[in-house]
């Protein structure tokens, strides 16, 4: 006779410390700030900690900066992109801080910018960055396709970023170089001259960065990091009421930050506004003027028309699949119910190979799903409640840039296991997995023009 499994005994009892931590978190919650930003004004909050050495001039600083093309196209930039890069070197300097727009690239549909903030001050400086895109008459431009900020993969836009301290012999740089990218939908592309403004709002604080010395308060990831090198922390800052993690962020090396949390614009701004611990220092701003651009030079490769692919009783409708300088943009619709219960279960993502069999969608920049039909309730989580009636899922995916746009592609769908392989091992590993499991594999060859 089968022994009945007492599933509840598989998990430990909730520790008291967990409940205590939860209580403390809840106590720290504060009332929200009033929303005061226009929807089209994209405010990205990046709090950057810098403890500056006295008397060092800007010129002597180590700027973490490798150039726009290198950052956008780590595997090699296409020649079209090289021709489009404009060196701006526009600076605004005030109160010991200097903001520089280094380079930008506008291809007629996507804009990428590379900028640097440097400080010659002795004290710790925090800053928020704000991006404004406007028509020549000052009216705001709409951008609804995609946007991303910062180039460090561990530090997405709107998250706490860390800079450079000197402690225990670790000497950090005294500047930070960021990157921002925005993509217009086809009907949003500016028809006339327009401007891009980068604002930096700088603040100081009396809080002092200290070394983390209580591993019990850290997660596994941070403990692992601690085992490699000493980390620094910002002690006691009430940013914790919104973003609990400043105290865990390494401040000597942005690349060592073990976690990042996208809290969104209101949360980040609230952290500043309600914390009361930051003192306004100065405001720096640079504006670049842009021409309308000519997307016809963009050499977009795309599916000539939406296509419906059929694999047995599974139908996948591809609404969009296109490549441009910014990367891959796809949108496809899959049914939710098929072949239950032992049948083919679809992965969230598919592999895209070029004519030579090289995977193209290694660098995923974003993926989102929505259910159809859904009752629009508004808010970020509406699909949770409305999905019962859904019959299809629509998936939008953005991939990183590719060095050469293909004339034809192969799409490969697998079972959901492929998602894990893609996340952890990248497209090369996923392809290897797909080749090892041909029985779970569906593929389609499509021409682009």
């Amino acid at each position: 006779m089968k022994k009945e499994i007492q599933y509840a005994n598989a998990l430990p009892q909730m520790p008291e410390a967990f409940y205590k931590n939860m209580t403390e978190t809840l106590k720290e919650l504060e009332e929200p700030m009033k929303k005061r930003y226009k929807a089209v004004t994209i405010l990205v909050a990046a709090l950057i900690v810098a403890l500056m050495m006295a008397g060092v001039a800007f010129a002597a600083m180590q700027v973490v900066h490798s150039g726009l093309l290198d950052r956008l196209f780590p595997k090699g930039a296409p020649s079209e992109a090289e021709k489009m890069v404009v060196s701006d070197a526009l600076s605004n300097e005030r109160d010991g801080l200097k903001l520089t727009m280094n380079e930008h690239l506008y291809d007629g549909r996507n804009i990428h910018l590379d900028w640097t903030v440097e400080s010659a001050r002795d004290d710790t400086v925090y800053y928020l960055t704000n991006y404004q895109l406007k028509n020549a008459d000052g009216s705001p431009l709409t951008i609804s396709q995609w946007s991303s900020y910062e180039s460090n993969p561990d530090l997405g836009g709107g998250t706490l970023t860390a800079l450079n301290l000197t402690l225990d012999g670790i000497t950090g740089a005294k500047a930070y170089s960021g990157i921002a990218s925005f993509g217009f939908m086809e009907d949003e592309v500016p028809k006339g001259p327009w401007t891009f403004t980068l604002d930096v709002y700088a603040y100081t604080t009396d809080l002092t960065p200290v070394a983390v010395n209580d591993p019990d308060e850290l997660s596994n990831g941070q403990i692992l990091q601690l085992s490699k090198k000493r980390q620094l922390a910002i002690q006691g800052c009430q940013f914790g009421s919104i973003n609990r993690y400043p105290e865990y962020v390494a401040v000597h090396d942005a690349s060592a930050v073990s976690r990042s949390y996208s809290l969104g614009v209101p949360a980040s701004v609230k952290a500043h506004d309600t914390c009361g611990l930051l003192k306004p220092l100065t405001h720096l701003s640079v504006t670049i003027n842009l021409d309308p651009g000519d997307a016809s030079n963009l050499k977009i490769k795309r599916l000539p028309a939406p296509q419906t692919l059929t694999f047995g009783d599974l139908t996948i409708h591809i609404e969009k699949l296109e490549f441009d300088l910014a990367g891959i943009h796809t949108s496809y619709i899959v049914p939710l119910e098929y072949n239950e219960p032992d049948g083919f279960v679809l992965s969230e993502r598919f592999l895209i190979l070029d004519q030579d069999g090289t995977p193209l969608n290694d660098a995923l920049t974003g993926i989102s799903g929505s259910w159809s039909p859904v009752k629009e309730e508004g808010g970020a989580f509406q699909e949770v409640f409305d999905r019962h009636d859904a019959t299809h899922m629509r998936i939008d995916e953005g991939g990183g840039s590719v060095s050469k746009q293909p004339d034809a592609i192969t799409l490969i769908w697998m079972t959901p296991e492929i998602d894990g392989v893609l996340w952890r091992g990248g497209a090369e590993k996923a392809l290897e997995y797909a080749n090892q499991h041909p029985e779970q594999r569906m593929e389609a060859n499509l021409a682009l023009n």
């Binding site: 499994i5 598989a10 967990f18 919650l29 990831g221 973003n243 996340w423």
Partner: protein, 157 residues
């Protein structure tokens, strides 16, 4: 929803939040972080919750997303070292706990949600954004693997 109600309803779910976070992360420290982060995310975006009656479901969903985010980040950064670094919490039935932990997340989470937390398969499908058929299949496959692993453990003894 005011702060007092938010606090009350969240604390009433403490056990559930812990067990779900633990099923995903298997680390007390990460459970604390995940739940704190989920509470903050929920508080900040609570205006998105149009029907307060669905608060519990909504918060669990946020927690699952948060836990998965942490897991992904952890997998990317610390893949080979992770298992050694996780502090072990002893469940009442250690063999069962180990067997459950050995399952992939997609199986163990559904087992926890259904058999421990009492969610219906349809509720799980909504929470995890999966087709009902997938949830059924994963629960079936997960239970089968769990039994296999428990049997392997018995045989080994």
């Amino acid at each position: 929803m005011d702060k007092s109600e938010f606090e009350q309803r969240s604390l009433a779910m403490a056990q559930r939040l812990y067990r779900i976070a633990y099923t995903i992360l298997y680390s007390d420290a990460d459970c604390k972080d995940a739940v704190s982060e989920a509470l903050l995310r929920a508080w900040v975006s609570r205006s998105a919750l149009r029907n307060p009656a669905l608060f519990e479901t909504w918060l669990v969903r946020i927690l699952i997303n948060t836990g998965r985010d942490m897991l992904k980040k952890r997998s990317t950064l610390y893949s080979s070292e992770l298992s050694d670094a996780i502090p072990a919490q002893e469940p009442p039935d250690p063999a069962l706990g180990a067997a459950l932990q050995s399952l992939e997340l997609k199986y163990r989470l559904i087992i926890t949600m259904h058999h421990i937390e009492g969610y219906s398969l349809k509720e799980i499908a909504v929470l995890l954004k999966l087709p009902l058929s997938t949830v059924k299949w994963r629960l079936h496959a997960g239970r089968r693997m769990l039994r296999d692993r428990l049997t392997e453990g018995d045989d080994a003894q």
